[in-house]
C-alpha cells in the first residue's frame, strides 16, 4: 500500500516547490497553481491562440479557454479560474441559455475558443457556435449533418454524443451513424466527412474525439451488438484514415508488435486477441472504444479503455477475452501498443473498462510516480504506473461484493465466486450492477486538494444469463438484469477521493445515479448535476452544498468553466436527461417491466415524476 500523505506535483520539476508551498499553505500568488500550468508544452504563440496551430499540449497559464472535452490531455477537468469561490458562489446566476429542441440525453461539454462557444447535440447530432461577445443573441451558425435515422436502432443506451474536438479552425466530432465530420469553425460549413463503421453491423459512434499530433482519434460503440471494437486515427486536415487498431483479433490487427511489453505475464503472448476466446468469437467480441482518451506528451503515449467483451453471458465466451475491459497505452504515430492492463479478465458483468484515465503525478511510498488514475465499473479505483502498466493500488470506492479487489502481485482481479452468473439461474444482489460503481460520467481532479471528484452509482443487480443468438444489427446480450439501489438506498454518489491514501474524504449522496461529469475549479469548488435537474456547486474541501439551480431537466452533461470576453468567469453545462440511466424518461420506457432500458425499470420508477425531457445549454456567471 502506498504511504499516506497526499501531495500532488505540478509536472515540471522546477516548479514543484512553489506548487507544493501553495498547496501546503494555501497561498495565492496571482494565478493559483494550475494542473495545466507546467509541463513540456510550448507557450502558445499568437497564431496558436488564433486557432491557427495545433493545440499545445498544456498551457503555461490558464488562458480561460476550454478547447478539449476534459480541458487538457490529462483529462483533469480542472479550471484554473478563481473568480467564483466558496464565498461568492451563492450569487451565481444564469447569464444566458439556449434550447436545442432535442428530447434525448445531452452528455457533451461545450467547448470555448477565441470568444466562441461550440456545442454538439445528441442525435441528430447538430452543432452550434455562439459568439460570446454577444451573449444571448442566438447561435452564430448551426450545422445539421443529418445522420441516418436507422442509427438510432443500434445505439444501446440513448442516442447520446459525448463531445467534439477543436483543431486549426475545425470542429471535429462523431455522428451516431459511425461517421466523423469536421466543420469550419468560422462558417459552420462541412470540411470533411469520413465513414468509419457500418450501422447494419451494429456499429455506432458516441465518444468525443481527441486530436493528437494532427490526428483525430476516434473509437466505435456497439458492444451490445457483437461488433468488433477499434480505435482509429484520421488525418485531421483531410479526414483520411491513417491507422486502425482493433481490440480483438490478431496482433497485426491490434497493432501489437515488438514495442509491446505489458507489465503482467498473462498479457504477453502471440495473438491473445484470438486465443483468449472460443473459436471465432473474437469477431463478435465487442471491446469497443467509447470512452475518453488521454495523452501524455512527455511519454508520447495515448491511453484509452476498451469496453465489455461481446455477449454479456460469460458462459458463451470462456477465456480472458482480450483485449476487452482493459486499458491500452499506444503511440499516436502508427498506433503501436506499448502496454495493456486488463481490469476485468473474462468480464462477468458488462464491466466495460472505458472509464477515463486521468494522468497525474503522485508521491507514493516516497517516490514521485507518473500514474494514471481510473475509477472502474468493477468498483475499484486504480492507480497505475503509466510508463509500464503496473497496478500500484486498487481500492474499492463503492459498494462491491462481486470481487475482492486486485492481487497486486499478479495484477488479477479476485472474483467472488458466489456472485458469478450462471446460465439459466438468477444470481441476486450482485454489486456493483452492470452500469458499474461508475459508468461513463467523468471525474475531475483538483491539484489544489490533490483529490478526485467522482460522480458515480450505488447500484446492485439481479442477473440471469441466457443463450444469445447473433443476428447482425440486433442486440447480442444474453442477460436479463434488474438494478436496484445499493446499501443505503440511494442510487448515486459524488465521492471526493484521496488517491494516495486510497480512501474517500467525503461523499454526497444522490437519489438517482450521479450521471453528469464533474468540474473542479481553482476557486475551491466542484460542479456537477443530478438527474433531477439540479446543477450544484460544492465546497471542494468539505463537500458542503453551496449553490444549486434547477435546470428543468436532469443534468447528465459535462460542466466546463471559461473566461468570457468581459473578463468574467463563466460556468456552462448542458441540461437534458437521458443516457442509459435516464432513458426511462427520454425514451418513455414503461417501468412496470423491471428490465426496461436493459435493467433500469425497477430502480428508476420515480424519475419520470421528478424531471422532464429536453436539452438546454445553461451559462452561469456572478451577478
Amino acid at each position: 500500500m502506498p504511504k499516506r500523505g497526499a501531495l500532488v506535483r505540478i509536472r515540471q520539476p522546477t516548479r514543484a516547490p512553489i506548487a507544493l508551498l501553495a498547496l501546503l499553505f494555501g497561498c495565492r500568488q496571482g494565478h493559483p497553481p494550475d494542473a495545466s500550468s507546467a509541463g513540456p508544452g510550448a507557450s502558445p504563440s499568437a497564431a496558436e491562440a488564433a486557432g491557427a496551430a495545433e493545440l499545445p499540449a498544456e498551457l503555461p497559464t490558464d488562458d480561460g479557454q476550454w478547447r478539449m472535452v476534459a480541458k487538457d490531455y490529462e483529462n483533469r477537468r480542472f479550471s484554473g479560474l478563481d473568480q467564483i469561490t466558496a464565498s461568492n458562489v451563492a450569487g451565481l446566476k444564469v447569464a444566458w441559455s439556449f434550447s436545442t429542441g432535442i428530447p434525448k440525453g445531452h452528455e457533451a461539454p461545450p467547448l470555448v475558443e477565441n470568444d466562441t462557444m461550440y456545442v454538439v447535440t445528441p442525435f441528430p447530432n447538430d452543432a452550434y457556435a455562439f459568439d460570446l461577445r454577444q451573449p444571448g443573441s442566438g447561435p452564430k451558425w448551426r450545422y445539421r449533418p443529418g445522420p441516418s435515422a436507422a442509427a438510432q436502432g443500434v445505439a444501446c443506451c440513448d442516442v447520446v454524443n459525448r463531445g467534439a474536438a477543436l483543431w486549426r479552425g475545425k470542429l471535429i466530432y462523431n455522428l451516431l451513424d459511425a461517421h466523423t465530420v469536421a466543420v469550419d469553425t468560422a462558417t459552420g460549413a462541412e470540411a470533411w466527412r469520413t465513414k468509419l463503421g457500418d450501422i447494419n453491423r451494429g456499429e455506432s459512434m458516441t465518444m468525443a474525439p481527441l486530436v493528437v499530433k494532427g490526428r483525430v482519434l476516434v473509437g466505435n460503440s456497439g458492444g451490445e451488438f457483437g461488433v468488433r471494437g477499434w480505435l482509429t486515427a484520421l488525418d485531421a486536415a483531410t479526414g483520411a484514415i491513417d491507422w486502425r487498431a482493433y481490440s480483438t483479433g490478431s496482433d497485426a490487427d491490434c497493432r501489437i508488435g515488438p514495442e509491446f511489453l505489458p507489465f503482467y505475464p498473462q498479457d504477453r503472448g502471440t495473438d491473445l486477441g484470438i486465443h483468449s476466446w472460443p473459436p471465432d468469437k473474437w469477431k463478435l467480441g465487442g471491446a469497443t472504444v467509447w470512452g475518453f482518451i488521454s495523452y501524455d506528451p512527455a511519454l508520447d503515449l495515448l491511453y484509452y479503455g476498451t469496453a465489455n467483451p461481446g455477449v454479456w453471458n460469460p458462459d458463451m465466451r470462456p477465456g480472458d477475452n482480450k483485449w476487452a475491459a482493459g486499458v491500452f497505452a499506444r503511440r499516436p504515430d502508427g498506433g503501436h501498443a506499448v502496454w495493456y492492463y486488463q481490469f476485468s479478465p473474462h468480464d462477468l458483468y458488462d464491466h466495460d473498462g472505458i472509464n477515463e484515465n486521468v494522468l497525474v503525478d503522485l508521491q507514493l511510498g516516497g517516490r514521485w510516480r507518473k500514474v494514471l488514475a481510473h475509477a472502474d465499473r468493477n468498483g475499484n479505483f486504480y492507480v497505475i504506473d503509466r510508463e509500464r502498466g503496473e497496478v500500484l493500488s486498487a481500492t474499492a470506492f463503492g459498494a462491491v461484493n462481486s470481487n475482492h479487489g486486485v492481487d497486486l502481485r499478479t495484477g488479477r482481479l479476485i472474483e467472488a465466486g458466489e456472485k458469478k452468473p450462471q446460465q439459466g439461474r438468477v444470481v441476486r444482489e450482485v454489486c456493483p450492477a452492470a452500469p458499474g460503481a461508475k459508468d461513463w460520467q467523468p471525474m475531475a481532479f483538483s491539484p489544489k486538494t490533490g483529490w478526485f471528484y467522482i460522480p458515480h452509482n450505488n447500484l446492485c443487480e439481479d442477473v440471469e444469463t441466457t443463450e444469445a443468438s447473433y443476428i447482425a444489427g440486433t442486440p447480442y446480450v444474453g442477460a436479463n438484469v434488474r438494478y436496484h439501489a445499493g446499501p443505503g438506498g440511494h442510487r448515486g454518489v459524488l465521492t471526493a477521493w484521496d488517491p494516495v491514501a486510497a480512501r474517500a474524504v467525503w461523499r454526497v449522496q444522490e437519489k438517482f445515479p450521479a450521471w453528469s461529469g464533474a468540474l473542479a475549479t481553482a476557486g475551491g469548488l466542484v460542479f456537477y448535476g443530478n438527474m433531477e435537474g439540479w446543477f450544484k456547486a460544492l465546497d471542494a474541501k468539505t463537500g458542503k452544498l453551496l449553490w444549486q439551480f434547477q435546470t428543468g431537466s436532469g443534468v447528465i452533461g459535462q460542466p466546463i468553466s471559461y473566461r468570457g470576453p468581459d473578463g468574467k468567469q463563466y460556468v456552462a453545462v448542458f441540461s437534458g436527461v437521458g443516457g442509459w440511466a435516464g432513458s426511462v424518461v427520454s425514451a418513455d420506457l414503461d417501468t412496470r417491466d423491471d428490465t426496461a432500458g436493459n435493467g433500469w425499470g425497477a430502480t428508476m420508477k420515480e424519475l419520470p415524476a421528478r424531471t422532464g425531457k429536453g436539452g438546454t445549454l445553461f451559462v452561469f456567471t456572478l451577478s
Partner: protein, 169 residues
C-alpha cells in the same frame, strides 16, 4: 342430470363445466407444426394466431430468440419503444404490427422478413399484442421461464391504443 329432489348433483355440474370448457378451448392449443413459408392468406394466419395459446407462447419464445428483448426489453422498451403501453407509433392492429416486423421501420426497427416465415411472424404479432392486453387473457402467457420482470401477460389490463402520435414518414 338431476339428482334426488331435483337438485343437480355436484359431480354432474362439474362434468358439465368440464365438457363446456374443453369445448370452448378446443382451438386453444391447436398447433400447426408445418406452416407454409409464405401464408396463402396472411390475414387468416394472423387472425388464427391471435386466438391461440400455443401461437402466443411460440411468439414469446421467438421474441427472445430473435433478440426482440434486447431492444424492447420484456415490453418496457429500451433501444426501441415500450410494447406494453398505450402508445403505438406504427399502429396496433395485427396487420400493422405484422408489417412492422416484416419490413422494419425507419428509426431503427430492422426487417425480419428474411429470418422468419409468415406463421412465425404471426405468432410474434400475437405475443406482442398480448403484452398490452390487446388479446384475450384466455390465450396470453401466464408465466415466465426466466427472471420475473413484472406482471404476467395474462394478468395485464387492456391498454387502449392511443393511435399514432408520431406521424408516419
Amino acid at each position: 342430470v338431476t339428482g334426488r329432489g331435483g337438485i343437480p348433483s355436484l359431480s354432474a355440474v362439474a362434468a358439465l363445466v368440464l365438457i363446456a370448457s374443453s369445448a370452448a378451448g378446443c382451438g386453444r392449443e391447436t398447433r400447426n407444426l408445418h406452416p407454409a413459408p409464405a401464408a396463402s392468406d396472411v390475414n387468416a394466419t394472423l387472425a388464427d394466431a391471435q386466438e391461440n395459446a400455443y401461437a402466443m407462447n411460440e411468439g414469446k419464445r421467438l421474441y427472445d430468440a430473435f433478440n426482440c428483448t434486447g431492444c424492447h426489453a420484456h415490453g418496457g422498451g429500451a433501444i426501441g419503444p415500450a410494447l406494453m403501453d398505450t402508445s403505438w407509433i406504427y399502429g396496433s392492429k395485427p396487420d400493422e404490427v405484422f408489417a412492422t416486423i416484416v419490413a422494419g421501420r425507419p428509426n431503427g426497427m430492422p426487417a425480419f422478413r428474411a429470418r422468419l416465415v409468415d406463421a412465425q411472424i404471426a405468432q410474434l404479432v400475437a405475443y406482442v399484442r398480448s403484452m398490452s392486453g390487446l388479446t384475450s387473457r384466455k390465450w396470453a402467457p401466464g408465466r415466465n421461464d426466466s427472471l420475473q420482470i413484472g406482471p404476467a401477460e395474462n394478468t395485464r389490463d387492456r391498454q387502449p391504443p392511443r393511435g399514432p402520435e408520431v406521424l408516419r414518414p
